[in-house]
Amino acid sequence: MKKVILDSTQPFIATGQIGEAWAVVVLEEIAKGNLEGYVDILYLQEVLDRYYYIKEGFEGRKIFNSFKNIATDVFLVTPEDFDLSYKLYKNNKEVSPRDLIHAAVAINNNIAEIFSTDGPGFDNIKEVKRVKLPNLLEELNLKNNYIYERKNISRS
């Protein structure tokens, strides 16, 4: 089964636009067991922090708990992950530290692909591959429906 690590844009995508709704479908595939989707602990902290700062802490805690339960597993973050993120930084100075630590966790847990709708930070890290939404939907045999829905929306 395909394995991906999720970046922290995923909880912020369910706002009604069709591409974002299809990213939610990816989460449903993880919940159904059709895809292995991992998160790391700092990813979950970003969810809590962002909702806290927009004064939506209760909502943030609900999403935090949902993602803890939906994810195939939650990776701990170690000092060695930090060391690797610093090494990655030396070759990728344009990439945000946030993306670098997620990439380091992925590498140290032998996950080669990161599902992210928020490019292009991960595209610059040669040690991991960013999986974009259309490609992932294609691999999950959902792309035809996705294209159909997008056309319908663009006509309306």
Binding site: L44, G60, V74, L76, T78, Y86, R98
Partner: protein, 137 residues
Amino acid sequence: MKEKIFLDPNLFEFLSKKGRGFQSVLDIIKDKKNFITDVKGLQEIVYRYTLIGETEKGYENAMKVRNEIEIASVTKKDLDTQGSLLQRYPNAKPRELLHVAVMINNGVKKIVCSPESNYKEIEDITVENIIAESFDI
């Protein structure tokens, strides 16, 4: 063995506002040799420097802390403890409660931190002022 004290890196930012450089704070920490922080704390040091366009310096300073004191991983158990703390302290900053969770799970009861933080409200730990006292702040 000396009792461990958790270092919240927000102390560096607070003291820098008071004109104290990163290294002067680090020197005190090195002397005392009983500090611990967690890997999110390292990430927060980097992030604060990134906000002012100095990511490289952020990594360098974070690595100085990494090399001088014990760094705890952030684990699933910490996440669960943070969840329980969030129930008890729904208005507290999640980042502070994660550090408290790491403290609890590593048997650490004291913290040094910026006076602007809200750790005093958390019953499980006590705030130490030893570094601020060293600078007479």
